[in-house]
Symmetry: C2
Subunit: 422 residues, 2 copies
Amino acid sequence: MNGSTTHNTHLPSNAPSSTDCWLLRKLYELVGRPSIGLQLWDGYFVGDDSSGIVICFHDRGALYRSLYKPTYTFGVLYTEERLSVAGDLVTALEKIYQALTDIEARGGAAAQIGRKIAARRPRRNSLDRSRENIHAHYDLGNDFYKLWLDREHTQYTCAYFTKPELTLEQAQSAKLELVCRKLALKPGDSVVEAGGGWGGLARYLAKNYGVRVASYNISASQVAYARERAREEGLQDQIEYIEDDFRNIRGSFDVFVSVGMLEHIGPGNFAATGATIDTCLKDDGRGFIHTIGQISPRPLNEWIERHIFPGAAPPSLEQMMTIFEPHGFVVSDVENLRPHYALTLRHWLRRFDEHADEIEQMFDPEFIRAWRIYLSGSAAAFSKGSLQLFQVLFQRPGCQDIPATRDRLFDPPLLAPTLSSS
Amino acid sequence: MNGSTTHNTHLPSNAPSSTDCWLLRKLYELVGRPSIGLQLWDGYFVGDDSSGIVICFHDRGALYRSLYKPTYTFGVLYTEERLSVAGDLVTALEKIYQALTDIEARGGAAAQIGRKIAARRPRRNSLDRSRENIHAHYDLGNDFYKLWLDREHTQYTCAYFTKPELTLEQAQSAKLELVCRKLALKPGDSVVEAGGGWGGLARYLAKNYGVRVASYNISASQVAYARERAREEGLQDQIEYIEDDFRNIRGSFDVFVSVGMLEHIGPGNFAATGATIDTCLKDDGRGFIHTIGQISPRPLNEWIERHIFPGAAPPSLEQMMTIFEPHGFVVSDVENLRPHYALTLRHWLRRFDEHADEIEQMFDPEFIRAWRIYLSGSAAAFSKGSLQLFQVLFQRPGCQDIPATRDRLFDPPLLAPTLSSS
């Protein structure tokens, strides 16, 4: 089904030239001939219509800009409503990611062009810049996030689906429990947390494992929310929420934990990250980092990095190891939760759409479209692209707390029966 | 208990000078003041006698050589019987490794000296050189290895102790089963094995999982043994043992597996290793590498590398990632079995000692002492030194065979009841 024109009365009358049609065919080649259709504003069609998914360019400029940096421009044009997608948005993006992954797997000139298109530097993360970058995203308003994140723990990180049919609430509880079990926490442990979000992990640790937590975060609105919740639940004596960069951690702890912060730091700051952990971890201490990662060193999708997560730069495992190896930390366990994040994002997206009316009261339509393409694109990148979710457990060589086998992660089942039946 | 002389009638009459005594004290400092004693041939004693462990230098030359490269010279002098150890040899070496690890953790000049002492290049592993290096170790005679390895699977790699009290046979069965479950093998899978040893893994795969295996190995005597065992067990149609370097693998497979080979290759050959895997693995394939590793990039103990495992160079995880990331392999799971190898080596050592009489019929006393210090030093290096055991599971992005959770590793229990009760 290549190069045919179908009748479409809703498109503008500015008819495409033969060059426009040729360029659409070139674009289709450039992104690896995904099993979807591409269409011009008059209905001129290229590609595969079997899936029912069609990306339509609404004007000539939208087409031309797509040829320059397709993966960046898609987000821009979708947000500006100069491009629309018929069919499921996540599936559409999965098919594009699949095609791009296949190009890379085949190697050669096409793969080089692909990598060149993607190559660029993310924003640097000095202490001040980090604060700006994080403010841009995490201070959008707690009310906004509470509409579509899980209701109990307000986790804006990958959940863990012991079974695919779990609710989001169950899967986030399972994730928190998994983190605790990996760390083999015991009552009285002192824990320092880097990037505490809305405080859900610290509350879970304090409540269920009887540990003390010092939790660092540079998002003012998250810290305010976390403090209030801790007071409400009577945990204020066990948890101290500190509004500061984790690189300013002071003190000495049994356990270092960080869930969903490392991806905001960038490999350029990993030497400092390792040094911070080395300074604050006791001689027999242990630690855990949960982060979005990449299959190999490469920047995040440029549109996401510029418009959604300024400064973000998910690392490859090789890059992550530069945190641990210079300080002689033993890496005990690495788990890749890639498929779990694809599922988590689909949950978020569904709730986001379910609350569209309320979100429209908070933000303009462009913001909502940007957010929808961000959540959809991320779901697709985890299922078919290069995004990974790494959980890395590490320890000082002298640490005796982590058992030699992984049985503790499964027995008893991660989800207590009361949760499973909720 | 520093610098005292005790009476010992068994030592030579060539009395140590004050310089000798001063050097012994310096040596004790250099290795980080371990909680053991050091003694000269006349009984002059330095250190800590509370553990009952004393290393005795039998002549002046032994003392002087120890000062130059203590970790190398220890093996040489023990083998030549110019140094002896009172008390448990593994514990003695653990205490030295612990002290050296502590020096490194403290950093500074002492750590730099330590690293400098250790810095050197292992032998290169061209295809021809690999064959020589492997011949030197693995062709010592199957009868020798059969005396002290597990009786069922002849595994000369780390076992997996679901419980510490398992027999060596049970723990090696559990290891083989763990490998299969990590790979989520299914009947009909085509498997290529790099470095097949005496063929135990290939037999286990063929017998218990109904897969076909092409197993590469450059040790002639191992291949001959493996072929005979496969014929005896009627597996010759499922397993092809190929006497060739794995870098010459031809064909296309669902699964790549390698247990205990990567440590012999060296990081300089990892680019070629990744390229070989990329060539022989199907588009939806998966793979598994089990290897001795290091906490951070550093050479193997020089004595072990020169006298026991020529060319060996266990990698750090960062170095291992250079196999996977350039080819876009997704790393799904990394487990560090470090404590399991310490336990495995203690089993081997005990059996080695139990069969000392038979081994003395095969080799000269120097070989036996060398082997004993090698097994003991390795046990100590896994429990207190920098050696690690990494199991890395990886997959093509398009692979659908590896489940999203790890339940399969534990349920049903790794050891079938019949094995547990044996």
